[in-house]
Amino acid sequence: MAETSPKIKIMAGAAPDLSAATFQIFDESHTIGNALRWMIMKNPKVEFCGYSVPHPSENLIQLRIQMYDGLSSLNALLEALTNLDAVCEAVENKYHASLATNDYERWEERS
């Protein structure tokens, strides 16, 4: 593949139509692992979703997705990533709206 190590690998043992697969995502940790797992579980077509960090010395996560009706878990992953991005955008917009109202206590903190 590419010279630099790939970001995602599909582990051996995945179903041929990818209805069940384990993805190995490199250079990621619980930060995105748990959030992604929650969003994938919100998909009603997902039979199973779980993630683990196999060993803290290796900086990767393994994410297992199993789908109903022979759907593709890769599509579920992509959809969850899009939805997570929408969550981040919604939180940011509401934060900026609250910051703009100036409706909070301001105080002087001496350091």
Binding site: P6, T31, K42, L78, D85, C88, Y95
Partner: protein
Amino acid sequence: MPPAITYDPRKHVGVHPERVSHVSSTNFPGHHPDEDHSWDLERFKKGLTVKIERLSNRSIEFDLVGVDASIANAYRRILIAEVPTICVERVYVWDNTSVVVDEVFAQRIGLVPLNVDPALMDMKQSQNDQATDRNTLVFRLQVSCERRKNAPKDTTDPNKLYINHEVLSSHLKWVPQGEQEIVLADNPPAPTNLNIVLTKLRPGQEVDMELHAVKGVGKDHAKFCPVATASYRLLPLVILNPEKPVPRELAEKFQKCFSSGVIRVDPRTKAVSVDSKKMRNETMSREVYRHPEFEGCVQLARVRDHFLFNIESEGFYPPQRLLPEAIAVMRAKIATVKRAAEMLLNNGDDLGDVAMANA
């Protein structure tokens, strides 16, 4: 009167004398037969509230309501470990005759926060990358200590006896390189706090070093952490049982079991009620569970999706900028993973071509 709160295991984490209950959220499709919990952005946006409560020049407290714990935790982890800042990384020592050895002194200098906007600098891709004016800031630290000529004879105060007896962070002098003079003109790099004592000197000792500052993240070294911790807690709830009200004569004692202001006692009827605004100050000491006379009168709980964030900024970022920076880092991570997943999709459902990990 607002409707009384009752303990709802679907929304509350039960806080009991010796354990907690109903900790995880069960709002997933299929858990509850007649309800639809699949992802719906509009419903999410309706339930989402972000409200800033307090803002100071160094810290911010805000409420994040309606998200799952995994998202709140992701932001907290990113605030601590993955929002970039700029700190001294390499120290080139020409002269160090102080009592603090080179490496200890260098570690202390690395921990000094600088007031440089990390957005203006690039991150070095690897440690041995060429140092350019785009990724490195150079400081010079030159201090030598001398005896003051006309000091009074019998003082012991080092301020009166010596010149430069303390090396402070104010002694760090920025040496502009290349284009930095123009780019960083309106906010010249300097330590945020000019009173940090780096070492102490006596006459004849001197320190002469060149410091290189780079952009890094807290994951790499804790000195790059932009927050003097970011943390959250769940909103506490004190639920009074309407069927077993607190006896009048014990009302004051009941009030003392909680943090001040949480419980209001009506002066005339001695009826006990919860002040909904001050309820967030409750520290959940569970003192009320220690008294058998209050058994069954009250249930302590926490609201599972109401997060009270407290972020204290250290270094460059003003506190109100920290959450947007964390959200930007999160979105960048999501984008990286998404790009990689799309590449997998396009390289074919022909799994033979996809890089298979050796399981």
